[in-house]
């Protein structure tokens, strides 16, 4: 579980997050929603340790984030953002291998190589392992980045008898915003499949209907504060959406599940 306790974040004189307390549920697909400028990315940066809160504390399984050293944290949680450009034509497999950076010292071991191969296999990019990353399409590049973060927090190996798998955390910062629908579903399916391997997922998603379909716990932000927390899609009401997103919302029924249409 990742917990933010009374967290505030100030950039210059602007208060971006104000007294936010939230628990991202272990083993679930947590979704952060909210209009532009609500502080979603900042919340994610604080939760991942990429930025430090002005006030408050971030805890992973009740242990404060400050207590982890950088590479220990990097072996436990990974962050996938919108898009990663490379200035130089590294082959795909080298990009994926960067996920093992926190794990090996000088040269990757055969275990590291094996993990990277399997990660590329999982995202369907094994055949393009030797192709220069910049020549891939945007969707393929994001698949490679997904393989990189899978390799970083690799948790598929069977734990030793009697032991349980360690907890892992995957953070997604609008990972699908430049992807077409095929790549979008693929990425979210892979992320969701991690839940079966003691991984907690926390994602910022901008498409509300996609978020409702994949999410298992919802945090709605509005102007730097938590506007609503919901355990199921049905707990998010029309009035909430209209108020938070400044739109008119209409609930449709998709075989018993909520599907929203929006207008101004």
């Amino acid at each position: 579980m990742v917990e933010l306790r009374d967290v505030s974040y100030r950039a210059g004189s602007t208060l971006i997050l104000q007294d936010v307390s939230v628990r991202f549920r272990a083993g679930r697909f947590n979704v952060i929603l909210g209009p532009n400028g609500a502080g979603k990315s900042t919340l994610l940066r604080l939760a991942t340790g990429l930025a430090k809160p002005t006030h408050g504390q971030v805890l992973y399984d009740d242990r404060p984030l400050d207590a982890f050293d950088a590479s220990e944290l990097a072996r436990m949680r990974a962050v996938l953002s919108q898009h990663v450009d490379l200035a130089f034509p590294l082959p795909t497999i080298d990009v994926a291998m960067m996920g093992r950076y926190p794990h090996y010292n000088r040269v990757p071991t055969s275990h590291d190589r094996d993990i990277v191969r399997r990660a590329l296999e999982m995202v369907g990019m094994r055949e393009k392992a030797q192709q220069p990353y910049p020549t891939l399409s945007g969707g393929e590049q994001q698949k490679v980045q997904l393989a990189r973060v899978l390799a970083q927090i690799w948790n598929y190996d069977e734990p030793p008898p009697g032991a349980s798998r360690p907890h892992r955390f995957l953070f997604l910062d609008e990972p699908t915003s430049s992807l077409d629908v095929h790549y979008q579903i693929h990425l979210l399916d892979v992320a969701k499949s991690l839940l079966d391997f003691d991984c907690t997922v926390v994602a910022i998603l901008h498409d509300l209907n996609v978020a409702l379909e994949y999410g298992g716990h919802f945090v709605l932000l509005e102007r730097g504060r938590i506007a609503l927390e919901a355990e199921s899609p049905d707990a998010i009401g029309q009035a909430d959406l209209e108020r938070i997103f400044q739109v008119r919302a209409r609930r449709l029924d998709d075989n018993g599940r909520a599907f929203w249409r929006f207008g101004l």
């Binding site: 490379l86 590294l90 960067m98």
Partner: protein, 325 residues
């Protein structure tokens, strides 16, 4: 990269170095070069080989190696294919520092240190401008380049002013500093530069893995547990140190740091540890070759080293610039 390619690279470097010793106003046979290197043969030949050409070739080799390594590290860290010590103003700043030290009459052994201080000042100025123009810790690449080039131009002006009244026979003249030269190489200068290159180059190679991770961008690198700002600063300091030492030894030699890493990438090297080592070899080769060309193209005149490397580097830069997005 395969062992074969490394072997070819090292062998080519040796061939170029032998050519550098053999070819000149007086051409020497391979046998004369070989014997002369060991002090065997007539005194003139031995003198030409051991006191004139060999130190010159080795100095050129070290200068090229340093500039190549510095460029490779800077390009990777900046994620900018045009980054190199000369264009970033690092070399210019180093030259001003070194010239200031000579004008003030400081000991020759302090030259590299003064050059290093000048280099750091120049890089801080260029960064400050690029950073103010936006683009994150590393600044907007185009603004950074522009700032660097302008800082370099300012450095040239400063060198002219500083040396305007210096007696010509006591210090290297402005031309030597601005266009670079390996002509007055001595073994003591070679030895000092070799020590700096080993220390600085070794440090850059050790930083190679961090530079690899920086290629992903700041957030992704931080997500992998890298202390991004500290890593960038460290690479900059070491790369500036290496470039500054070459400037103190041979003046401003431009564009080597730009061209060389691209050549090494083109032969299939990707990871920065190998890229930095490969850039040392190719950089050494390029500068030894440039120095040789400068000696033989328009005899009896000797072209400045920096002029030859600019003739090679500028067309290359222009084609790269065309494709920079």
């Amino acid at each position: 990269m395969s062992v074969t390619r490394w072997t070819v690279l090292v062998l080519s470097l040796i061939v170029v170095m032998v050519a550098g010793v053999a070819i000149g106003t007086i051409n020497l046979s391979l046998a004369a070069v070989w014997h002369g290197a060991f002090g065997v043969g007539d005194t003139t030949t031995v003198y030409i080989v051991r006191a004139l050409r060999l130190p010159r070739v080795v100095l050129a080799l070290l200068v090229g190696a340093g500039l190549g390594m510095s460029g490779a590290a800077l390009q990777g860290t900046m994620r900018n294919p045009l980054a190199e010590p000369y264009l970033l103003g690092v070399s210019g700043g180093a030259a001003v520092g070194a010239v200031l030290a000579t004008v003030l009459g400081l000991a020759v052994s302090l030259l590299p240190l003064a050059a290093f201080v000048g280099a750091v000042v120049a890089v801080v100025i260029a960064f400050f401008v690029a950073h103010a123009a936006g683009g994150g810790t590393r600044g907007d690449p185009r603004t950074l380049l522009m700032a660097g080039v302008v800082v370099g131009a300012f450095a040239n002006a400063a060198i002219m002013v500083l040396l305007a009244r210096a007696p010509a026979n006591t210090v290297q003249d402005a031309m030597w500093w601005m266009m670079g030269s390996a002509a007055d190489a001595t073994w003591s200068r070679v030895g000092a530069l070799a020590a700096y290159m080993l220390v600085g180059g070794g440090a850059l190679v050790l930083l190679g893995r961090r530079i690899d991770v920086l290629a992903l961008g700041e957030d992704a690198a931080a997500g992998l547990g890298l202390a991004v700002d500290a890593a960038i600063r460290l690479v900059f300091l070491v790369a500036s140190f290496v470039a500054a030492a070459t400037v103190a030894a041979a003046g401003l030699v431009g564009f080597v740091g730009l061209v060389v890493p691209h050549i090494v990438r083109a032969i299939g090297v990707r990871q920065h540890r190998a890229l930095i080592i490969g850039s040392a070899l190719v950089g050494g080769m390029l500068v030894v070759l440039s120095d040789l060309l400068g000696r033989i193209l328009l005899p009896p005149a000797e072209l400045p080293l920096g002029a030859v490397t600019a003739l090679i580097g500028v067309p290359f830069l222009l084609t790269k610039l065309r494709r920079l997005t």
